[in-house]
């Protein structure tokens, strides 16, 4: 009897928690397949995929903004890796003086409330004609992603065994050849992780794009925001689902790595 009561109690707490976590997502799913739904009806009146057709037809705004988002995310990853790989190497191998200070400076963009920063970047970009351009948005996303990229790259290079590089050099490989065939392949898993992080951050970024992208660059989050404020909840819900796919896929991917034992090492 006591055991049954205990499970009733645990079950209700877990049930309430599950409702709190999945309720908002379920509401989103309902809107994504609803055609007609208004007050006071508790559930949609008619269901269907009509709005999916609207979102996914090649001429739609959503399709264009998805393409814009992906182009921006790819360029952001490229810029971040170009900057973070050399910096991460130098910082990870402790080649530079003042390493702690440099790592701290790299951390700053994540440590300040960013709205005021972005609106001033927008003002500065406006003077040089970068506002409303893909390049401008890429730069803003890149400076935000750079923190993660540099930190992960530094950790990845610090983990590569220097002995292996020395062995390659002893056998006559040049410095460049050693870097390309020994160091980079060994650090690759970390660098790929950094690239995925930066890609997702860029895909989901809203605030910077909101200030710097206007009026010409509309990414998927911005298009979702506009649809939502205009009351097009079906379009907003479907767009939100598109944004969710890479995030959830990533979660399932890192599930194995995000175990508490690994986190204990960080903490």
């Amino acid at each position: 009897m006591k055991a049954a009561l205990g499970w009733l109690w645990r079950g209700s707490v877990l049930g309430v928690l599950a409702f709190a976590i999945f309720g908002p997502l379920a509401n989103l799913l309902l809107w994504a397949v609803a055609i007609q739904w208004y007050f006071p009806y508790k559930l949609p009146l008619t269901y269907g995929f009509r709005y999916w057709g609207e979102v996914f037809k090649p001429t739609s705004d959503a399709f264009a903004s998805l393409a814009t988002s992906i182009v921006i995310a790819v360029f952001t990853v490229a810029v971040c890796l170009l900057l973070a790989v050399p910096a991460g190497y130098a910082l990870g191998r402790r080649l530079v003086p003042g390493r702690g200070l440099l790592m701290l400076i790299m951390l700053l963009p994540q440590a300040f409330p960013s709205v005021a920063i972005y609106l001033n970047i927008a003002r500065l970009f406006y003077m040089v004609g970068l506002n409303g351009t893909i390049a401008g948005v890429v730069l803003v996303h890149a400076v935000h992603g750079l923190v993660i990229a540099v930190w992960i790259a530094a950790a990845a290079f610090a983990a590569v065994d220097v002995e292996l590089e020395l062995a390659a050099r002893n056998m006559g490989a040049t410095g460049l050849r050693t870097a390309l065939t020994v160091t980079l392949p060994l650090a690759a898993p970390g660098l790929i992780a950094a690239a995925i992080f930066v890609f997702l951050e860029s895909l989901d970024e809203f605030t910077g794009t909101y200030f710097v992208g206007v009026p010409d660059v509309t990414t998927l989050p911005l298009m979702m925001f506009n649809a939502s404020l205009a009351g097009n909840y079906q379009i907003a819900a479907i767009t939100a689902l598109i944004l969710l796919v890479p995030s959830i896929a990533f979660m399932l991917l890192v599930e194995r790595f995000l175990n508490t034992e690994m986190l204990a090492k960080i903490g």
Partner: protein, 277 residues
């Protein structure tokens, strides 16, 4: 050796230049323009105007962010505590699977979910109504400051809980068993033995959550459209509607101060705990 150092500095230089140009410079620019009038003269007028127009919003922002951070901390401690102390492996496994979901959901998507979930005709009210707990027709929905808090807590609790449960898992279990043998209950073990040992990690998580909440623009814009709102939304409004960078930057300065005070509380804690050691 000196040559190697130069090469190493050259490797770091591009990344550093990027952060200086696109973060430190705009930050300085925002600080200067908060104290500059439209004609370029130094002034405090932006702040006078800011406190006149947005004084209540500033208080509102501090209250929202403080309540959200506190709730995230309490929930994270409860989740982390149950994951370590829970006696039923099945319940622990379920909780572990459940609590992480919002971590990977972008803020903008979370805001859209809550915009429908917490609305007058949203799933929350409708479910409570269907269970016979309330009458949905008499409810107004939670799309105001309460909705912002719900969204922030929903999004930030998993992050803090992940850090805290990681730290809790690495603690020595002998103290837990000893306390259990002496008859201490789960809650008492959590509050008196476990949490003090992970206070540092908890504080880092909460400060990061706090600063994140002060940086998110989409949530206040989408959740509390017409009503009183947070200074993040006010900044966007000042710039978009009036091109009033003076007041927007004064609000920005206030947001740095709020974030700074959280970081300062955290640092003071560290200093205090170092002193008692």
């Amino acid at each position: 050796m000196a040559q190697r150092r130069t090469i190493a500095l050259l490797l770091v230089a591009p990344a550093l230049a990027m952060v200086l140009a696109l973060f430190v410079y705009p930050l300085g620019y925002s600080l200067v323009s908060a104290f500059t009038a439209k004609d370029g003269q130094p002034t405090f007028a932006n702040f006078t105007k800011t406190f006149d127009l947005y004084g209540t919003d500033i208080v509102f922002t501090v209250v929202i962010v403080a309540i959200s951070t506190a709730l995230s901390g309490v929930l994270a401690a409860a989740i982390g505590g149950y994951l370590v102390l829970g006696a039923h492996p099945a319940a622990v496994a379920m909780l572990k699977w459940l609590y992480r979901w919002p971590l990977f959901i972008p803020f903008i998507v979370a805001a859209q979910c809550m915009r429908t979930f917490l609305a007058k005709n949203g799933m929350l009210n409708n479910t409570l109504d269907a269970l016979g707990l309330v009458n949905a027709a008499s409810l107004s929905g939670l799309l105001d400051w309460r909705g912002i808090i719900v969204t922030f807590v929903w999004k930030e609790t998993p992050f803090v809980a992940l850090l805290v449960s990681g730290a809790l898992a690495s603690l020595d279990r002998a103290a837990i068993e000893a306390a259990r043998n002496l008859g201490a209950g789960g809650l008492r073990i959590l509050v008196e033995i476990l949490l003090p040992q992970v206070a540092g990690v908890m504080a880092v998580g909460l400060v990061l959550a706090f600063v994140t909440m002060l940086s998110v623009l989409s949530v206040p814009l989408m959740i509390s459209g017409g009503s009183r709102t947070m200074i993040t939304a006010d900044m966007a409004f000042r710039v978009n509607s009036y091109s009033d960078y003076g007041v927007a930057n004064a609000l920005g300065f206030v947001s740095y101060l709020i974030a700074g005070s959280a970081a300062w509380l955290y640092l003071r804690r560290i200093v205090a705990s170092e002193a008692t050691r």
